[in-house]
């Protein structure tokens, strides 16, 4: 199992965001405590990353932008992107965030060297378009929920 350095970077950002958001919701300042929680969590995340390979990959993000632009023109896929925008509060337009498109481009670049690569995510920008992505790039997208269900089935069959 591998991840890209872009994914690792995004995970760090999301971790900070999530911790801060939760503390903000409780209307607590406590900046030093936040720094402590973020620092400990980042350290734990770093240790978890050691269990997988983190690769520096180079993808073609412009190719992915064209892919999603083409989906904006198709009414069926456009409807999915409109729905995703409603669910993702921070989304500005209908296109996915640039960082997400970079991550997909890196997976595509990695997949071109390996015929049997699966891309695991729980992001709707990928999971809602599994057929389109597989048809265009030969990259199979596996949602985290599907992977977890598969794991449970496997464990039961072993027992």
């Amino acid at each position: 199992m591998s991840a890209s350095s872009t994914v690792a970077k995004e995970a760090r950002t999301v971790l900070t965001y999530t911790i801060n958001e939760r503390v903000d919701n409780e209307q607590i300042r406590a900046w030093q405590l936040r720094a402590q929680i973020i620092s400990r969590s980042q350290k734990r995340l770093k240790n978890l990353w050691k269990r997988v390979g983190v690769l520096s990959l180079q993808g073609n993000v412009n190719e992915v932008k064209k892919f999603y632009s083409a989906m904006l023109k198709d009414p069926r896929t456009r409807a999915k992107l409109v729905e995703l925008k409603k669910r993702k509060r921070t989304r500005q337009g209908l296109m996915p965030e640039t960082l997400d498109m970079i991550i997909l481009s890196e997976a595509i670049a990695l997949g071109r060297g390996d015929g049997d690569l699966q891309f695991m995510s729980k992001d709707g920008d990928f999971c809602e378009f599994t057929e389109e992505i597989e048809a265009k790039y030969g990259l199979r997208v596996l949602s985290v929920e599907d992977a977890l269900q598969f794991k449970v089935k496997l464990e039961r069959s072993i027992q």
């Binding site: 900070t16 911790i19 939760r22 919701n25 900046w31 030093q32 720094a35």
Partner: protein, 300 residues
């Protein structure tokens, strides 16, 4: 005595001795303990070298017992030469680095000093090396206001107010996804606590060093704030843009302050502070519940 024993003994040389080795390596020798004490003090505290010597106020201003002990120990190990010289009126000490000391410094100690830190240390040393021991002692008294506890107290109170001002800016610029701003605010909060605790200290040397370092920290935070208020730029990029070649970064200054506070029993380091000092019990309980779903622990 076997070479294995010598090697293991040398590995017990404290990191703070790097400052002493650096000064003796650069100057060749230093005459009088007074001058050595003050040169180490200046280099350590102006160049912001963390994990250095603890200084307290003594007869002739800042004095470090640790430095005195290190000169004795390192002379015994043959890494420096400590010679008593008969002066015209009084005997005095002469300190010189030996060839094994020079070799140790280049092979081991230099590895722990970055190029930027060495540049800063050299700059400070060059500024003060030409003064006599009495001139240097007097200069240190004046520069650090060691004889003026009331002036120090007033400046600390003033700085605490100014810190509040720059904290307000960063709170208004804050957004949850930015780790830099979160850390800036954490550092500022830590500093407020440190200044508050330091007001009750009796030793003016520790107070003065903390005050000067805190002022530098405040100024750096202000400079980054000025850039960010005019341009839409990441605070880390702003800091890198402002940081001149060997100038200590905001993080280095904070590292120095934290280390100073810990070694002088003002405050533990930020990441080691107890939660009871940072939040109320009620806040802690609410946070525990909120973060539990993330599998994140609040307590250390």
């Amino acid at each position: 005595m076997s070479s294995v024993q010598i090697t293991s003994r040398r590995s017990s040389i404290p990191e703070r001795a790097n400052i002493l080795f650096f000064i003796l390596s650069e100057l060749g020798h230093v005459v009088t303990e007074l001058k050595l004490q003050k040169l180490v003090f200046q280099v350590q505290n102006i160049a912001k070298v963390p994990r250095g010597y603890r200084y307290k106020r003594h007869l002739y201003g800042p004095y470090s017992r640790e430095l005195n002990i290190d000169t004795f120990t390192l002379a015994k190990k043959g890494l420096i030469k400590r010679e008593e010289v008969r002066g015209v009126q009084y005997p005095y000490w002469r300190f010189e680095i030996t060839p094994p000391g020079e070799a140790y410094f280049k092979e081991r100690a230099l590895r722990n000093l970055t190029r930027e830190r060495i540049q800063r240390m050299r700059k400070v040393l060059n500024e003060y090396k030409g003064y006599s021991h009495y001139q240097l002692a007097e200069m240190v008294y004046q520069q650090w206001r060691i004889r003026k506890p009331e002036a120090l107290r007033r400046e600390m109170a003033e700085l605490a107010k100014n810190l509040q001002g720059v904290t307000s800016f960063w709170e208004s610029a804050y957004f949850p996804g930015c780790p830099a701003i979160t850390y800036f605010l954490a550092f500022a909060e830590y500093l407020q606590d440190a200044l508050s605790k330091a007001l009750s200290l009796t030793d003016t040397v520790v107070k003065s060093v903390l005050l000067m370092a805190s002022k530098e920290f405040h100024d750096k935070l202000m400079n980054i704030a000025q850039v960010c208020s005019k341009e839409d730029v990441c605070p880390l990029d702003a800091q890198e843009g402002l940081c001149q070649s060997s100038d200590p970064s905001l993080y280095e200054v904070f590292d120095f302050i934290e280390d100073l506070c810990q070694r002088n029993d003002v405050l533990p380091k930020l990441l080691s502070r107890k939660r009871g000092e940072l939040v109320t019990e009620d806040e802690y309980v609410r946070l525990q519940k909120s973060l539990k779903t993330l599998n994140v622990s609040v307590s250390s």
